[in-house]
Amino acid sequence: MAGKKAETGVKQYFFVIRQLTLREIRRKYARSYLGILWSVLNPLLSMAVMSMIFSTIFKRNIENFPIYYLTGSIFWSLFTGATNAAMTALVDNKSMLVKVKLPMEIFPLSRCFTVMVNFGYSLAAYAVMLLAFHIPITPYMLLLFLYAGMLFLFSLGVGYLLSIIYVMFGDVKHLYSILLTLLMYASALFYPVESTSAAMQAVIVRNPVYNYIACARKCVLEAALPGANQWARLFVWSVGMFLLGKCYFNKMKGRVLQKV
């Protein structure tokens, strides 16, 4: 009896997340004629433009530079998109928070899922780009999903933290955007890590987001697995950050209701 109830509870939980996620997605393209088609078209077109730019203007001595950039870019936008969206989730939905008996973490979670769905669309566009640049398709590329999942977990953890902090201090939004800029330049999105100094490399490698990007590049461009250290970093950052965020969220959520 209790088990069945828990099962329906979980089912309901995902139904709500699904609906909230659908809302965000539908809403994004609600005013356009092409509607949902944009979610594939948009990344496809912007990737085409970016690869054009990065294969002509910002030429670098990197093999398949556009793909090098795009791989980093989609993972980076997954991270920024998820954390930024999760940050404001509680505040944006405050009317729902007080009125409805929903577990509070559902809001940041559904925001992150939304970004994840968009990431899925981007992946479709990315696949087109891979074909266009004659990148051999290997089974290693399945790892992309694993990395994305781990990055999702990491982003969710950060998102949980941020959503609570954002309730307490609206300023976090601005601070975070600055922090993101810093992180972006330390993520080696459009330059090879080897081109930087040793000290800088130490910083970059300690940047959690870079690890995911590096692994993704590795499996796409080199068809290789990351080393043990890399695996350790991926695991520590994703699970560690998720737990940290989740615990903090649970600890603080009582106070959130008083605050919003």
Binding site: Q19, L20, E63, V205, K218
Partner: protein, 662 residues
């Protein structure tokens, strides 16, 4: 004779003047005629020497014609022209009759008035030079009517000279070529032993094909070149290297000469096997370069191997094998510099894209510790969650048991909700820090004072099962806070509320409606939020639409709805479910137009009287009077009165009046 004419001419009349003119003409003609007949030259025989053009622009290496013209004012029976040219700038090819040093003679004649001779030169060097006529002469002949032929030497006035500008021929050759595998990509090793390589890679402008081999890591070549002709353009077909053989062409386009194509056959090695670590290490860091210049190519530079050694030492992986590898790498570099690039940070394992890091690397101790810590944390968290779930279950069961117990003793007086000494305090910062900076300053100064706002103060009451209880009070008295606490949305600061939360249902209208979505999408969204399952919504969808009277509008965007339509839909969704055991209504009884209001009130009444326990909030005493069995009046967070609606509402209204009069 002439005096006679003059006399007449000097005479009178017009006729005479005409005559004078005629006579003058005659005299003149006669004088000339006589003069000529006697072999006297009235006009000198003049010759003219000139070139076809005032100046010339010739191109180095080409055969260039120079036209020499000799014209006379008499028939030229013979002429000669002596030309001078700069034999260092021009090479005389043909056209003249005689050549002496840098003097050329052109001779000829035969009675024509003009002669033309073409001389050919080949310019030798870029620059300016001059071709000039040093001397010229000739004889002109004239046959008189009587058959006498007079001959006269021509005098040549101006001696022509023409400046010649010689342009470079525009070489399409390279003077030097240097090809190296990209620095930092390592392993661009040129295949072959030193001498062999020197033969292959030693650049010579005449050799058009070169073969080289680079390592897998060399993703592109760096090509530096120098052309013989500064203006020549070079088109490099590409510098990127694919694995396998690559053909790179350098097309050199000079000014006049045909383009010359140099071809590099570059073989990029296959990806090295990951397992062969030592082989990898050997190759790594050796940035092979093949340098070839127009001069001194093919010389082995010994520094190469020396460089290799230090490069590896810097890398911190200086095993003897590695040094050996570097040394051979250097040798392999052959005539080029075996340029070693130590890969920074490699030894520390920082490099995410690092090559050769993957296999057999040692896990860093800090990372290992972190992994263990995180793992422990997740186990602990999972355990806590599981325990929490158990704990949650337990009280519920306990409550049930207790309730059962209660039921046994006081069967009819079952309590649905028990509010016990509930106090709710909100901590409000005195003047809330509006920014993080301000907050930090306050924390540092210890100035973070809070004001405690007591929303509820020691409120206790009970709601029996099936009872309809109305909570009344002015705005801000704490009614909604109380409802939230009962619903479990807010934990109270003190006291407790005993209620089976699973049975509690708050009726909220249109929570989470998104105006950009269609009505259909909103039904599912709102339904999900208030706890309906998908199957339930699917089943009840028609009913919802019918009740909201929105048939035909469901695929319309909500933003196009009137506010009445929106609230009708919200109401329909919220009330479609089977009535819960405990229903909480927060000001929901005024929805839509008059007709819908009747319908909605009927529905609410239906829900209220279905045997559910109802807790409703309103600041209108009429609503309370009409629907409730009991009324609870809360004012400024404290329970003022509880009892029969008429009594409580009367007191509430009295207070309102007092407040107004006061």
């Amino acid at each position: 004779m002439s005096s006679h004419v003059t006399e007449i001419g000097m005479g009178q009349t017009r006729k005479r003047r005409q005559l004078a003119r005629l006579a003058f003409g005659l005299v003149l003609g006669l004088w000339i005629w006589i003069g000529r007949r006697n072999g006297m030259y009235v006009m000198a025989a003049e010759g003219k020497v000139y070139f076809g053009s005032e100046s010339y622009v010739w191109t180095e290496g080409e055969i260039c014609p120079l036209g020499v013209y000799f014209d006379g004012n008499l028939a030229v029976s013979g002429y000669w022209v002596c030309l001078e040219y700069d034999s260092e700038a021009l090479e005389y090819l043909n056209g003249a009759d005689r050549k002496e040093g840098n003097l050329l003679w052109v001779e000829g004649g035969g009675g024509e008035t003009g002669y033309k001779r073409m001389l050919h030169f080949q310019p030798l060097a870029e620059g300016d030079t001059v071709v000039r006529v040093v001397s010229a002469g000739g004889t002109g002949t004239e046959s008189a009517e009587d058959g006498t032929v007079t001959e006269e030497e021509f005098t040549v006035g101006r001696l022509a000279q023409a400046p010649v500008a010689i342009e470079g021929k525009g070489s399409s050759r390279l003077a030097g070529l240097e090809v190296r595998a990209k620095e930092g990509q390592a392993e661009g090793v040129i295949e072959g032993e030193g001498e062999e390589l020197a033969g292959q890679m030693g650049f010579s402008p005449e050799v058009l094909e070169y073969h080289m081999q680079v390592g897998y890591e060399a993703e592109r070549l760096e090509i530096a070149y120098e052309t013989e002709d500064a203006d020549a353009s070079v088109i490099v077909s590409g510098t990127e290297l694919a694995v396998g053989e690559n053909i790179i062409t350098l097309t050199v386009q000079g000014g006049q000469e045909e383009a010359v194509v140099y071809t590099l056959y570059v073989e990029r090695k296959e990806r090295p096997e990951r397992t062969e670590k030592t082989a990898d290490v050997k190759a790594e860091g050796v940035d092979g370069t093949a340098v070839a210049g127009g001069t001194g190519m093919g010389q082995t530079t010994q520094e190469a191997s020396g460089d290799g050694g230090t490069g590896f030492l810097e890398e911190g992986e200086a095993e003897p094998a590695a040094i050996e590898g570097a040394a051979t790498g250097g040798k392999k570099g052959g005539d080029g510099e075996g340029n070693i690039v130590g890969r920074q940070g490699e030894g520390e394992g920082f490099d995410g894209l690092g090559k050769g890091e993957e296999e057999g690397e040692e896990l860093e101790p800090e990372l290992l510790a972190a992994v263990i810590a995180v793992f422990a944390m997740s186990v602990w968290y999972g355990w806590k969650q599981a325990k929490g779930r158990k704990r949650k279950k337990k009280p519920a069961e306990k409550k049930k048991r207790r309730k059962n117990g209660v039921r046994k003793t006081v069967n009819l007086e079952r309590k649905a909700i028990e509010v016990r000494h509930v106090t709710m305090e909100f901590r409000l910062a005195q003047d809330e820090a509006s920014s993080l900076k301000e907050y930090m300053i306050r924390v540092l100064k210890g100035q973070n004072h809070y004001r405690m706002l007591q929303a509820l103060r020691d409120v206790s009451f009970e709601v029996k099962q099936g009872e309809v209880v109305g909570i009344i009070g002015t705005n801000g008295s704490g009614k909604s806070t109380l409802l939230k606490i009962i619903a479990g949305a807010l934990p109270p600061t003190e006291g407790e509320v005993i209620v089976d939360r699973r049975k509690v249902q708050i009726l909220t209208l249109g929570t989470g409606f998104d105006m950009e979505l269609t009505a259909r999408e909103n039904v599912y969204l709102n339904g999900a939020i208030i706890g309906y399952s998908r199957e339930f919504i699917d089943e009840k969808f028609g009913e919802i639409v019918a009740f909201a009277e929105l048939e035909g509008f469901m695929d319309e965007r909500m933003k196009n709805f009137s506010s009445g339509m929106v609230s009708r839909l919200g109401f329909a969704i919220a009330t479609i479910r089977d009535s819960a055991d405990i229903l909480i209504l927060d000001e929901v009884l005024s929805v839509g137009d008059l007709f819908f209001r009747e319908k909605s009130e009927a529905r609410i009444r239906e829900m209220i009287h279905s045997g559910a326990t109802v807790l409703m909030v309103s600041h209108s005493s009429n609503v309370i009077r009409k629907n409730c069995d009991t009324a609870v009046w809360i004012e400024k967070g404290a329970l003022q009165m509880a009892g029969k609606p008429d009594v409580v509402c009367g007191a509430y209204e009295q207070m309102g009046k007092n407040g107004e009069t006061a």
